[in-house]
Symmetry: none
Subunit: 130 residues, 4 copies
DNA sequence: GTGGTCTAGACCACC
DNA sequence: GTGGTCTAGACCACC
């Protein structure tokens, strides 16, 4: 998990997004324990308060549950995986297609750009980051 | 031009991005005068200082030139159009493809999502905004 | 006479400085007519009000006199040449030596830098601008 | 560090210049923390926004790096010292020699003026300011 | 405490 | 009218 300290997206939002991704993709399973706030803060080199805020908001969003003294766990409900995945996909694709259209690109041109980028990344043997 | 006051992207960056888009798309032509700081501030309902910061950074980026007392003008160099377009496209497509891959989608699945979103927007008769 | 539109020194001050220099150096003689405000504004591509302000302040400083309907003339008093020259030299040298000392240079190092710059300019066959 | 409120040089530029000087002269070392925006503003009796503008531009120039919540630090790269010193010297000497030549002084006359000013300052026991 | 963004508003130089 | 600088002060994210 990487934090970009120079972007305008607040760090706690970056943390939430990454958890969403890991849930959507199955890296983090329903019911599974997530790192302690302290550990994650150390790992990300981020202040503990920032992690705390991310966990608090994830709780509000129903993504995780905290059991006092035991830690924080991904929501038990299996539906969360598909829901999170669908939501993330929709947001991404929606924003992207709107942006491409506002730059004047047609469907065909957009698809072509996407295909070229995929191929460029494959040639570089780049691995999709987790 | 619309400002989203609820996003974490600073207003001055939103303004810069919109100018880049308008240059890339040909709405704003090399040498053309852009709105005065005061006018744009009134139009967007933001503070004049915020517009000024955007304009100042656009000047640093070489997008515009300012003549004191006369106003601010898009850079004369015709190359700016193609360069801006290429840069914006690259950024968009690069970020998008990385995000889709990190969600585990293949090239084919991604293209399918993009095509579906284009068709959904077309059915809604939505017009790409300028 | 060149105006630098991108410096923080106001244009009317740049104009005054240039007149001082021309007087100090004898290009402009006591009693001699200076260009009309309109002509100078056209020459410098500057607004007439700006030239007017420069002339007004030069009058206050006793550098020039304006005779209605006849134009503006360098002060008659011959002493103005030497006085202006002395004042400009003092300001220049004083500022320069202070700046070099604040950069930690000794007299010898400073003199060496000055000599090298003179020689560099001579080799380039650069002409001192008037 | 002193600010001259009566010059046409903007305060934020005066601040940048002073930092350049301190870097060039070794008072401020690569990697060292500079005063917080609030502290420097209080010290100089200027507005915090003015200091921030100076710091922001120094960041663009590569002179300093900012870590959110931690402060602003002189660029790590040791080369910055020599580069800054060289750049400042060149600017100073270049401007000075051009000005002296445009006043009609020869190399010898200029050197003599410089030497006299150095000696005058030494007699006064004036200390080069840091 | 530290920097980042934004607002409201003043005053200036220049057109 | 147009941009440039500066102030006073608010609120936020992060340490």
């Amino acid at each position: 998990m990487n934090i970009d300290f120079n972007t305008s997206t607040p760090i706690y939002l970056q943390i939430i997004l990454e958890f969403k991704r890991q849930i959507a993709v199955g890296v983090l399973k329903p019911g599974e324990k997530v790192p302690s706030q302290r550990d994650l803060a150390a790992l990300l080199k981020v202040n503990a308060n920032t992690v705390q805020r991310a966990y608090r908001e994830m709780e509000t969003l129903g993504m995780v549950e905290t059991l006092r003294g035991q830690g924080t766990f991904v929501c038990q409900d299996e539906k969360i995986v598909e829901e999170t995945r669908t939501e993330m996909l929709k947001d991404l694709v929606d924003d992207f297609v709107h942006a491409m259209r506002s730059l004047g690109l047609t469907q065909e041109e957009t698809v072509k750009e996407v295909e070229q980028m995929f191929q460029k990344l494959e040639l570089k043997g780049e691995v999709s980051d987790e």
